[in-house]
Symmetry: C2
Subunit: 233 residues, 2 copies
DNA sequence: CTTGACCAAAGATGCTATCTATTAGTGTCA
DNA sequence: TGACACTAATAGATAGCATCTTTGGTCAAG
């Protein structure tokens, strides 16, 4: 640190450090920072400290006022859809809250995304979905959890990408996080249930056939399992 | 402009101007800017130009590389959930795309939010929802569109706020935008349909009674009307 | 003695100006 | 073709003025 020499990528380092500290609650809402304090703590110039705070301010993690300094905002005002913030929160020890928010979001969005894909996906995307559903069955029945997870993520991401809604597409990365964590935490059955495999195939074929209602309903069926696991019947 | 004197709020002015230019497509993806160009164009110092670009970079609207300058990103990489970006796009002549994305998002989220509120809202929030639903009927039957819109926004915002999902809550402002625009563009019937009024009351009473399934279904009923209007049957 | 109004100083950011270091694209020359 | 110098641009450091707003102190009135 403050070794005198200009360190490259200082910017990213500081944003990351302060962002993590705020997201984890280590820097509580109402805490105050000053530019000078940051300069000393991270061995950076005023320019970099300013830039950093500007970025965090645009995420609504902090606001700055003259004579006061930089103040950490209430969590309820944060831009909770910012991918960086989501990442920081998932890395903190408060990840459970973030996971359940994301899961609920997923339950809401994916059925409508499936309907959108049935209406607007390209021919190539429809074909790829069908092929991925077949992969899922094969890998699921073989019990290859690792490969199954990869195909599952690919399936759900492709759906979000091909549904024609740019906002849904932006959730791709977050949904992948949720799926990964679900497997990692052993919330997935060792062998995917046969009903789930069938529901994936139904989504794929409904999308391929342009049947919006069927796609939506089949996706809802997939997510019923998730609702059950979260206690949201 | 470049009158020499330091103008306060220079930062916000420049972010706004460049953000709008990018969001509207006036600055096409791949366009290049330089810090020096911005300094001259807006009469600001290098530091402010830097800050501005850092903020836009954190929204993924641009990226900057040495020797090249600041390059406008592909729209598919933008942080489309950033409230500022949403605002800029709604102000541009491409607002239709943004509205339909938001409406589809609303269709996805609100039923789950209603279920969440039925499970987790506070007593005060439940009571307020019931009261708002009554207001809606009164104002709707009286044909006071202006006051009806205000109550409608209050109803849907309260639902998002009380559903216990921080990510849903963050959508409050955007949903309000959608509702406002729906009325402004005359997509609302002059007198709200009686079915819609009843459905709002059903949502409120289901939330009040903690009946998650009924709340979700009643909200879906409200949104069916919206789906119909968008051609998403 | 307490309370309130006023005023001045201090502490912080906002912005400007200018400098060095670093990187990467470009063109030239063998 | 390949090596190498040139150069344009950002990354970062530093210094200083302008501006705002909080804080604390003084003084007068009750």
């Amino acid at each position: 640190m403050h070794d005198g020499g200009p360190s490259p990528a200082a910017q990213g380092r500081v944003i990351e450090a302060v962002g993590v500290a705020i997201a984890s609650g280590e820097l509580a809402p109402g805490s105050r920072l000053t530019l000078e304090g940051l300069q000393h703590e991270y061995g950076i110039s005023r320019t970099v400290a300013r830039d950093t705070m500007k970025v965090l301010e645009s995420m609504n993690l902090v606001y700055s006022r003259r004579r006061v300094g930089i103040v950490v905002q209430e969590p309820s005002l944060w831009n909770v859809f910012d991918p960086n913030l989501v990442r920081w929160r998932l890395a903190s020890d408060r990840r459970e809250l973030q996971y359940s928010s994301l899961t609920e979001l997923r339950i809401a969005v994916e059925p409508i995304a499936a309907a959108g894909a049935a209406r607007r996906a390209s021919a190539a995307e429809r074909a790829r979905l069908v092929s991925l559903a077949a992969d899922l069955r094969r890998l699921g029945e073989a019990g290859d959890l690792q490969a199954f997870l990869a195909a599952d993520i690919a399936f759900h991401q492709l759906l979000l990408r091909s549904c024609g809604n740019e906002m849904f597409r932006a959730l791709e990365g977050m949904i992948a996080e949720v799926l990964t964590s679900r497997t990692r935490q052993g919330l997935m059955p060792f062998k995917p249930r046969s009903e789930a495999l069938q529901a994936h195939e139904e989504v794929a074929s409904a999308v391929a056939g342009g049947d919006t209602a069927a796609a939506e309903q089949a996706m809802q069926h997939i997510l019923d399992e998730v609702r059950e696991a979260m206690g949201l019947h």
